[in-house]
């Protein structure tokens, strides 16, 4: 991943590099988890989105989009909305069956519903998980949707037969270059706080923040599909074989990766994130890209900055 440098703008004394974040086509599903209390809904959602930071190593990227009030859920209970992103619908279907089956079906009081009812493409989830019911399961068909009732020791697990899958975008990102680790983390946390309020996006990495950004492949280990982004590692500045992208004074870099259901959602998240990250101790805001060769979605930081201003 490289940072294509051009003229910079400044926001509250922080340079915003004239570059772009490069993102990719993905497929997304939205799962609505409900439970008897907000705490149990959140527990199930956290379990479901665990170990789902990057499709490279986890086969799926997932995160909690929002916590839902009872009037926002199909069954009138508290809930959580989870977004999952994969490369294709078939793979995403497998991940849904695995994750819902292992983390939501097993979690006390939960039920599971499709959050993309308008999506034309449907994948079977409840229709496969019903087999856990060992033919003691039953179904209900209401308002054009089939729901499966799977008997469990606690009572019944209710899940929709199919879930919608739609085209989405993954890999929008920001790089926060700061004078030290604390400043970088504070800026990233501030950005994450506002970006998480945007609907239609998730920040799949721990706490929404990545400290180990990667480049494609590796210079020395040929079988690696990704390795450390040496150009942005402060400790490698000046090292032979490393072309550092770090300006003087930068000693810590953090990245925020954004996956979204559509381009406007990612633009919105990135623009509020850039604005929030411009704070003391931050030297520069940049973004990662591959020269525009790999992903067809480009988010230019200066355009996003002007959106944030308006």
């Amino acid at each position: 991943m490289t940072g294509e440098r051009g003229a910079s703008l400044e926001r509250r004394g922080v340079r915003v590099v004239d570059t772009f974040a490069e993102a990719f086509d993905m497929c997304a599903a939205r799962v609505l988890i409900t439970a008897n209390s907000p705490a149990w809904a959140r527990t199930a959602a956290l379990c479901m989105t665990g170990f789902a930071t990057s499709v490279i190593g986890c086969k799926v990227e997932a995160g909690i989009e929002a916590e839902l009030f009872p009037d926002q859920t199909p069954d009138g209970r508290s809930g959580a909305s989870v977004l999952l992103f994969g490369f294709d619908a078939a793979g995403l279907a497998n991940r849904l069956v695995e994750r819902v089956g292992q983390t939501v079906l097993t979690c006390p009081t939960t039920a599971c519903f499709d959050g993309l009812p308008q999506a034309a493409e449907r994948v079977i989830v409840g229709g496969l998980l019903r087999h856990f019911g060992d033919r003691f399961q039953s179904s209900k068909f209401l308002e054009g949707q089939r729901y499966w009732r799977i008997p469990v020791m606690e009572g019944e697990f209710l899940i929709q037969e199919t879930f919608g899958v739609q085209k989405a975008i993954g890999g929008g990102n920001l790089l926060i270059l700061a004078t030290d680790q604390n400043a970088a983390l504070a800026a990233a946390e501030a950005a994450v706080d506002v970006m998480r309020k945007v609907r239609g996006v998730i920040l799949p990495f721990p706490g929404g923040i990545v400290r180990a950004g990667s480049k494609v492949g590796a210079k020395r280990y040929k079988k690696m599909i990704a390795s450390t982004n040496d150009a942005y590692c402060p400790t490698l500045r000046g090292r032979a074989g490393v072309t550092s992208e770090l300006p003087e004074g930068v000693n810590s870099v953090l990245e925020i990766v954004v996956d979204g259901l559509d381009r406007p959602a990612i633009e919105n998240a990135l623009s509020v994130g850039i604005d929030a990250a411009c704070r003391p101790g931050v030297v520069e805001i940049s973004a990662g890209n591959y020269g525009g060769k790999l992903g067809k979605h480009h988010f230019r930081l200066h355009s996003l900055l002007s959106e944030a201003s308006t």
């Binding site: 069954d75 009138g76 729901y147 009572g155």
Partner: protein, 271 residues
């Protein structure tokens, strides 16, 4: 809107399946008046019995006591029929879509073997609501029937899918040989409810006499009923589901088949 006003009560049942948006939506007033109806086996015209106003609409309004007018809305796929008065047998039979509303009562075989759409009866209904016709294996396969008053025998007989809600008391054999779907009894039912049911759900908000072939399973608050409560709430019917208000006793049966159906009986914490 096309308005049909009954001139006089026919002396024998009038078979009028042309009283449907599908038959009238594309017709001019003259053509509507000339549509065929059968008085017994005698072929007549619509305007022999109805004063017809309007033309070319998928909204029909039928005024008068049409309790002897059969097959209104038979097989309708879309549009709306409003009956200001009563309706005769087989109202909405085989319908697949659209909506029918009756301000008065409806007779037997309401929504017989329907597969979609919505029927709402403000008054009472007769027997065999949403049922399978004699010799037929499957009754109602979709749609919703809402009855604010009482209903007669064999409600939902052999129904496979869809929802029937009855506000008043229901007579014997509700859910007879039921294959699936949901019947909600807001005021309970008389005897032999769920006899020979294979699948499906009967919800009763009042205690009902159960056949000995139904076995108690558990007391709980099914999550799926929350979806029904929300859906039916939009249609003006309230069913309880909150834990603090009570719970449902689940009985499985009919074990004489043996069936996999269920009867859920609400038990309020106040009782």
């Amino acid at each position: 809107m096309i308005t049909l006003t009954l001139k006089e009560q026919p002396n024998v049942p009038l078979e009028a399946e042309v009283l449907s948006p599908d038959a009238m939506a594309a017709l001019a007033n003259d053509a509507i008046r000339a549509l065929p109806v059968y008085l017994g086996k005698k072929l007549c015209r619509v305007d022999d019995f109805f004063a017809v106003e309007g033309e070319a609409s998928d909204e029909l309004k039928i005024c008068g006591d049409a309790r002897k007018v059969k097959w209104i809305g038979r097989g309708m796929t879309c549009g709306r029929i409003t009956i200001v008065g009563n309706a005769g047998m087989h109202l909405g039979a085989y319908m697949t879509g659209g909506a029918i509303e009756v301000s008065g009562n409806a007779s037997d075989w309401l929504g017989g073997e329907m597969t979609g759409g919505l029927i709402r009866i403000r008054g009472n209904a007769g027997g065999q609501v949403g049922a399978a016709y004699r010799g037929s294996r499957i009754g109602m396969k979709g749609g919703t029937i809402l009855i604010e008053g009482t209903a007669g025998l064999e409600v939902g007989m052999r129904m496979k899918r869809g929802t029937i809600v009855v506000g008043g008391m229901v007579r014997d054999f509700a859910g007879l040989e039921m294959r699936g779907g949901t019947i909600v009894l807001l005021s309970g039912a008389e005897i032999r409810t769920g006899a020979w049911m294979m699948r499906g759900t009967i919800v009763s908000l009042k205690p009902i006499p159960l056949l000995p072939s139904f076995l108690y399973a558990s007391t709980y608050n099914p999550t799926f009923l929350r979806l029904y409560a929300k859906h039916l709430g939009t249609l003006g019917f309230t069913i309880p589901y909150e834990e603090q208000d009570g719970a449902y006793q689940r009985y499985t049966g009919d074990t004489s088949i043996p069936g996999k159906g269920e009867i859920l009986i609400w038990k309020s914490v106040k009782a």
